[in-house]
Amino acid sequence: MKTILELRKELDESKITSDELFKEANLKAHKYQDEFNSFVTILDEKKEEKSDSLLSGIPYALKDNFSTKGILSTASSNILKDYVPVYDATIYKKLKSAGALLVGKTVLDELAMGGTGTTGHTGIVRNPWNKNHEIGGSSAGSACAVALGIVPFSIGSDTGDSIRKPAAFGGVVGFKPTYGRISRYGLFAFASSLDHVGCFTRCVKDAAIVTDVLKGKDERDMTSLPDEDIKYIDVIDNDIKGKKLFYIKEITDPELYKEAGNETLEILNKFKETIKRCKKIGFDVEEVSFDEKLLKAIYPSYMTISCAEATSNNSNLTGIPFGPRGEGNNINEIMFDARTKGFSELIKRRFILGSYILQRENQERLFKNAQRLRRIIVDKMNELFKYYDAMILPASGGVAPTFDSEIDRMSDRYLILENHMAIGNFGGFPSITIPNGFVDGMPIGINITGRVFEDGLTLNIANKIEEELGYKGLIKEEYDV
């Protein structure tokens, strides 16, 4: 399966045209739509701006929670099912002027809340490696579109692990850079302090190329970081000898998973093999101990903070200034009706939790304590990053779950192993998931999380590991056409 750089070469050598690339992507998008449901909207007309960017003429897919002027943007929610924005998200503008070709808007878990890819208003997204499995979420369609080979890259958003988890389940690369590196203007907010924009690609180099286009200060996003002088693609091949990695004992020690199934043990085995290979190519890798109580607090803290922020962020969805107008005898009834009909039960549950968490009498005990835990965890990470350059961990404790296995995943045993990637959102750390082979025919991933602001180094480390492992441009044989 071709990467952006390979396609770039073919375009530059006129072996292929952007028209042909777009047409091919469009055909595949339609062809796989019924089976896998990657898209909410597939665009049949190519719009291309002239550019000398590496992304010029390259097709891509965009998660449907980015604002695209004149193009339906639903966030996979009924309350926005007919919403056509009047303005462009900053990243969409950047991709347009880089000459990238938008192929479609992808399905997500409703309003980006959830990690299964099953809660979008247009139906579930399936895993290209096995249709009985989820692709994960919330950036389900974006992961699926790259895993199916429809597009060489796609854009997602990541609040807990919404890019990095589905990337692992789909056998592709998923990267979210440092908080503020990419503007959030035009990304429908879920939890503003945790929301990141990022990308799916078929190799680490492509993630660097895409991020080079997306990054930069945006006057419309006060949290966006100042421009840097470097391009990540220029530092991606740097020598990594002597770079220090760590992994957490309390997450990866097989002794902790005695009652777990073979799948988890196999994943941990593969992880340990990868650690050996990291050492072989010159990394110093050490095991560190991390207070288990803090690790256990990641998921509840994440849920507490994200639900609270989500409640507030989605308060604009009342059907008053836009969206389907509710019915009722007074303004409260009208808003109540619009929100009752517009959101699924899962979303309402999160909003009620969030509202409860923010109530004056609960804030100190729930919201502020969760924020304190977040701070303690980030401080501990920064402490470790004083010595180590990056953390390396399995992206998940299992392969992509089947559609009926939801309950198993919520058991305590998996809590830490399944949810540690939210650390990257807590601290705004650059974090990337790359494929780490297969278990039972399903792809698995490893996650590399780096020091804040050091996106280049994080990509550099991931690239070197990817080179060693050789899992690049993975695609199931039948889709490699």
């Binding site: 959030r184 429908f188 907010a189 308060s315 604009n316 969805l317 008053i320 004056r360």
Partner: protein, 473 residues
């Protein structure tokens, strides 16, 4: 009798080019939904960008109110659902306000009073709603306009004190240029808390809040009505309910809106999209240096240093431009009382009559000084000076030119007058004789001098010379 306790929360729109968190224009418009941006209607994906000018002006106001300013400023979200609030939350300041623990000096009917300010904070205005029979319309022009809320301690004890404070606050907004503070455009609005307590009680009584009163006069009426209503309840042995009431400006009464049990929990939390803003001392110093001397201090100065009455001082400081004009004349060494007198009577009379402002006036402070000096030196009479004033501003001419054109200059030269007097006395020795016998012929000679000089001889100089020359004979 009960002691009245009043606290005010005053909202005032800040004068800026763009809105508080968007680039839409911040300007008064007759046309609905003209000044809006994606941010103002809360479209999905929008982010706030804090307006530097609004922020700076808020700090200026905080300093003008003698508030302590924090080392960092943050914004918070106040969450509630209402159609005038498109995002479903208002960005305001709860954790780190732009100013806390300040005060304003006011003078209520001759007595000085310190009004304590709990805090002043920057937030955004809501949209405005127009209600019709069975539908309502929303105008988002106002949504996102920077709004400064000034919160007093419950330290006011009468409608007079409340109104005097509001006028003083309005004066500070105008003097600092932070707001135009026009109540007729809804730029200044007020929530009023009123409670009554026994004269010797130590605890405050139950407070009633009246929301969004849009004129100072209505604030007065609402307070007076509420004092009457609560007094009657207490006198008859009842209890005042803690509640929010609405003042009806047609029947001038207050009506219940919601009680304490229905109070909204706004679920405040820190706005995650605006990073904390660090306030450098140098910025504070810079802003402080831009604050002009304010009304209260100017009145003190005019009374103590220039000997003006409080009444005249009040009138002069009402408009900063008038006050600055007055101070310009003082710099030119004119008698402050003469200047004040001219400004309060002639100039303000003229400006009010023709609805003009002082910067539209042709007569500059320099020209006014010239005019006053001519009166003080006896070159023209004060009656003549009025005539000159009108001709100056009507024909855009300087006073000395007008005086010349009207041939108004007085004869003050000793020799000129003396020559005329000697000639007159020579002609009528009989009247000098009569004068010696005690008959009043003095006025005759004065009259004759005036007649011969067409009234231009300075009367007091003339009188002195006649007296001297008569003595000699």
């Amino acid at each position: 009798m009960y002691k009245v306790v009043i606290g005010l929360e005053v909202h005032c729109e800040v004068k800026t080019n763009s809105k508080n968190f968007s680039s839409a224009r911040n300007t008064y418009s007759e046309y609905p939904n003209e000044n809006i941006d994606t941010v103002d209607i809360g479209l999905p994906g929008i982010l706030p960008v804090a307006n530097k000018d609004a922020f700076r002006k808020s700090l200026k106001m905080a300093l003008a109110l003698n508030c302590k300013t924090p080392d960092i400023v943050m914004f918070d979200r106040k969450n509630y659902y209402y159609p005038d609030l498109p995002k479903g939350y208002q960005i305001t300041q709860e954790t780190k306000q732009v100013g806390v623990n300040g005060y304003v000096m006011i003078n209520v009917n001759g007595e000085d009073k310190k009004v304590e300010i709990n805090n002043i904070h920057l937030e955004e205005d809501t949209a405005s709603l127009d209600h019709f029979g069975n539908y309502s319309l929303i105008d988002y022009n106002r949504a996102g306009v920077p709004l400064l809320e000034t919160v007093t301690e419950p330290c006011l004890h009468s409608a007079d004190e409340a109104i005097t404070f509001l006028e003083a606050l309005k004066g500070i907004f105008l003097y600092t240029g932070v707001s135009e503070a026009r109540t007729d455009r809804g730029q200044m609005r007020c929530d009023v808390n009123v409670s009554l307590m026994e004269e010797n009680a130590t605890e405050l009584g139950t407070k009633v809040e009246m929301k969004n009163i849009n004129s100072f006069n209505n604030v007065r009426l609402a307070i007076e009505y509420e004092i009457k209503r609560q007094t009657e309840i207490l006198k008859s042995g009842g209890k005042v309910m803690q509640e929010t009431r609405r003042f009806d400006d047609e029947d001038l009464k207050t009506y219940p809106m919601r009680s304490k049990v229905d109070a909204v929990d706004y679920k405040y939390y820190i706005e995650p999209n605006i990073p904390p803003i660090k306030i450098e001392n140098s910025l504070i110093d810079e802003i402080r240096s831009e604050i002009p001397m304010l009304q209260y201090e100017r009145i003190q100065k005019y009374m103590n240093e220039y000997g003006l009455s409080r009444y005249d001082s009040d009138i002069i400081v009402r408009d900063k431009k008038v006050s600055d004009y007055f101070e310009e004349t003082i710099k030119l060494k004119v008698n402050p009382k003469s200047s004040a007198n001219f400004i309060t009577t002639m100039i303000l009379g003229y400006l009010n009559k023709y609805e003009k402002t002082i910067d539209e006036l042709y007569l500059t402070p320099q020209m006014l000084c010239e005019l006053i000096h001519m009166v003080d030196e006896g070159k023209i009479s004060s009656k003549q000076s009025k005539q000159v004033f009108f001709k100056c501003i009507e024909e855009n001419k300087e006073p000395k030119i007008v005086v010349k054109e009207l041939g108004m200059t007085q004869i003050t030269d000793d020799k000129t007058i003396r020559d005329i007097v000697i000639k007159l006395l020579d002609e009528r020795p009989d009247l000098i004789e009569d004068h010696r016998k005690g008959k009043n012929t003095f006025d005759y000679f004065v009259g004759q001098v005036m007649k011969q000089t067409r009234g231009q001889a300075n009367p007091s100089i003339t009188a002195n010379i006649i007296r001297e020359e008569m003595e000699k004979r």
